[in-house]
Symmetry: C2
Subunit: 142 residues, 2 copies
DNA sequence: GCTTGACTTCAAGTTGACTTGAAGTGGCAA
DNA sequence: TTGCCACTTCAAGTCAACTTGAAGTCAAGC
């Protein structure tokens, strides 16, 4: 089964421009061309799922590219996965504390948040969390 | 107690350029100038903690600016906080599932991850998680 | 045979949060 | 008084992951 870029776009939910970009980056390959047009094998969809997975686990496209350039099929280092899981776990804990503090603050009767000890604890927690480059998440851009 | 930008930088851990940038964005104010130089009140450090908190909870700088331009002291909408907490909670659940799946996969004896049902479930989970703009988190830049 | 519109390339633009560089200023220790 | 160097401004650069636009190609349906 072969697909043109429009079909892959439709099935994967990714715009064609993104697919071209991914190809340029070496994340996916087309099976060839029909005229000018790229022709994709059906398996590219599986590959794209894998890429989505990596992205949502917090890997960069470059990280992901490294994961399966070798050979052709995904080669994923189990130790790397475990390390990523641990990292994720730390993030989750921190976010959990943040969520709880947010909830408390939302319900807190102190006239100013500044006088609320939970809020102050949250402040210290946040300040301790330096060294992250990007907004950590949920940049949903309202 | 007043501080020059170098001192604020040292105490907050933020580069001076970032402090100027924050001032330009209206996130912090200097108490005035001594000659050309900005003079900050000690309270700016508290403000910076607050900003760090907001950032780590996933608010953009603009979001944060909105939170305390009114008046001068932080005005944080409790409903907004609660909403953010809920959003955070959804993220946490998703990340938890991802973490578990990563761990499973790291330990999974299937010869190829593709044959592992948990891995496949994770793939579906990841594919369902579209519509996020930025890499969700932990872009630690190895 | 001709139009249509989905495809193509390539360069440039976008976004958010900063950083960097060049060129200038001025407070303060010696 | 002098000189250092932390400060200043302003413009431009960076980064990742794309998106957009202009200009061109071409397979297929009418």
């Amino acid at each position: 089964m072969i697909l043109d870029i429009g079909e892959v776009s439709k099935r994967s939910g990714l715009p064609a421009s993104t697919l071209r970009y991914y190809e340029e980056k070496g994340l996916i390959q087309s099976a060839g061309r029909r005229g000018l047009r790229r022709v994709f094998e059906h398996s590219v969809l599986e590959r794209l799922s894998l890429i989505a997975l990596g992205r949502s686990a917090g890997f960069s496209l470059d990280d992901i590219a490294d994961m399966f350039t070798e050979g052709g099929r995904p080669r994923i280092d189990r130790a790397q996965l475990a390390a990523k899981a641990d990292e994720l776990n730390r993030v989750i804990r921190r976010l959990g504390a943040m969520r709880d503090a947010l909830r408390h603050t939302a319900a807190c009767p102190a006239p100013s948040h500044m006088e609320c000890p939970t809020f102050q604890r949250m402040l210290r927690l946040a300040s301790a969390t330096r060294a992250r480059k990007r907004p950590s998440l949920t940049t949903t851009k309202a």
